[in-house]
């Protein structure tokens, strides 16, 4: 009997921890859309220039983050110091990333993989929808599967604006990207929060035309 109870407790614990918190308890939403398009870095004629503040493991970095769609499915992502020195320079093509340059001190697999996942989540344009949900506050959640994780695109049903992207595994929210002050499909403020590591990136758009 005791063994049975322990087994039951284990099963209950296992199931309880398996649910993705982002969509837990939400009803499925019927939609004919099969693909969600992230609009924010999709214009190949726009230079997306952001002032960046990065806090990682008690270190602060400031600089400029430059993102540009250079071909279909392909983004160039460059981070420089305020003086203009490159810290890293990547090309993202779907699931592949080419490193054109990275500073010696940052040239570590764990750092490159973290950056790759962050920028892939941020910029990946076309995302096949696995399931859709709707919450009580008028938000539609499009769930898309990646290799080992899920991306959840939280969209305001009325305005159709993409408010957040939440990257999860099967049980935890890993990365939360929040877009605010959106104008002409440009998110003026973007925050990237790692929920399981002390990494926070805050971006504010620099309008070069002004």
């Amino acid at each position: 009997m005791k063994r049975f109870l322990i087994l039951n407790l284990c099963i209950v614990t296992l199931f309880a921890s398996c649910g993705i918190p982002t969509i837990k308890g939400l009803p499925e939403y019927k939609t004919e859309i099969t693909e969600y398009t992230n609009p924010y870095f999709s214009n190949p004629t726009t230079d997306y220039i952001y002032k960046a503040k990065i806090k990682a493991y008690n270190n602060d970095f400031g600089g400029i983050l430059i993102i540009k769609k250079i071909e279909d499915h392909k983004h160039r992502i460059v981070f420089t110091t305020n003086f203009g020195n490159k810290i890293f320079d990547f090309e993202l093509l779907d699931n592949e990333m080419k490193t054109n340059f990275i500073m010696k001190d940052l040239d570590k697999k764990i750092i490159i993989n973290t950056l790759k996942r962050d920028f892939q989540t941020l910029t990946q344009e076309r995302n096949p929808i696995h399931k859709s949900f709707r919450d009580n506050e008028g938000k539609i959640i499009f769930q898309s599967k990646t290799k080992k994780r899920f991306n959840h695109y939280i969209v305001d049903e009325k305005t159709q604006l993409l408010l957040q992207i939440i990257n999860t595994n099967h049980s935890k929210e890993k990365i939360t990207i929040t877009f605010s002050k959106v104008k002409n499909t440009i998110a003026k403020n973007i925050s990237i929060t790692h929920n399981t590591a002390p990494i926070q990136i805050d971006l504010s758009f620099l309008n070069q035309q002004q």
């Binding site: 230079d47 503040k53 400031g62 003086f83 620099l206």
Partner: protein, 208 residues
């Protein structure tokens, strides 16, 4: 017909030689001593600047603007004012950063990279960085300015800077432009404006 081609290429050749002409040894020596004299008489420098970050894949260069202040022996404040506020101050072997109100500091006493950065900034603003041990240096006259190219000898530096190019006003021997060229040929160009030497500069400017 062949003569026309010869004339054409000769003209191009003359054009190119007009655009960039190597200095003679005497000209180099005269120019260097003028810069060194200007430097040794300098107690303070204040200037505005415009910085252009050129990346080959962008439609436009990323443009930022700001002010700099220098006071002997090694106080430097480099301040971006537009389109955002960010400043760094080199003082007492420390680097003080103010990133839109977020303040932090780094001890650079033992940090080779930051010490190198400090002397590069100081020397390029002053114009006096003719260190043949650190750089392969070549001197040119282009239109109404001198162009000096510095190719770093340090292998670590070469990984991110292929060359520095400094432009000097022929009349004043003062630096008007600094260009840092990366191995990829992307570059950062800083153009100085309203540059003045030896104006009174309150030390409080360098308070973090």
């Amino acid at each position: 017909m062949r003569n026309i081609y010869t004339l054409f290429f000769l003209c191009i050749g003359i054009q190119i030689s007009n655009a960039q002409k190597s200095l003679t040894t005497e000209e180099i020596n005269a120019f260097k001593s003028a810069v060194e004299k200007l430097d040794s008489n300098t107690k303070t420098i204040v200037s505005d600047f415009v910085q252009y970050k050129h990346l080959s894949f962008l439609s436009n260069d990323v443009e930022t603007q700001g002010k700099l202040a220098f006071k002997v022996p090694g106080l430097v404040k480099w301040e971006y004012t537009s389109p955002y506020k960010y400043s760094i101050i080199f003082k007492d072997d420390k680097l003080f950063i103010d990133d839109e109100g977020d303040k932090s500091n780094i001890d650079i006493g033992s940090n080779k990279m930051f010490k190198g950065l400090n002397s590069l900034i100081t020397n390029s603003v002053k114009g006096n960085m003719f260190d043949d041990n650190a750089f392969d240096i070549s001197y040119f006259k282009v239109d109404d300015f001198y162009l000096v190219k510095f190719i770093p000898k340090d292998k670590d530096m070469l990984q991110f800077i292929a060359a520095f190019e400094l432009k000097f006003d022929i009349k004043t021997s003062d630096v008007t432009e600094v260009k840092m060229i990366e191995p990829s040929e992307d570059y950062t160009k800083i153009v100085f404006k309203n540059k003045t030497r030896n104006t009174t500069l309150n030390e409080a400017v360098f308070n973090p």
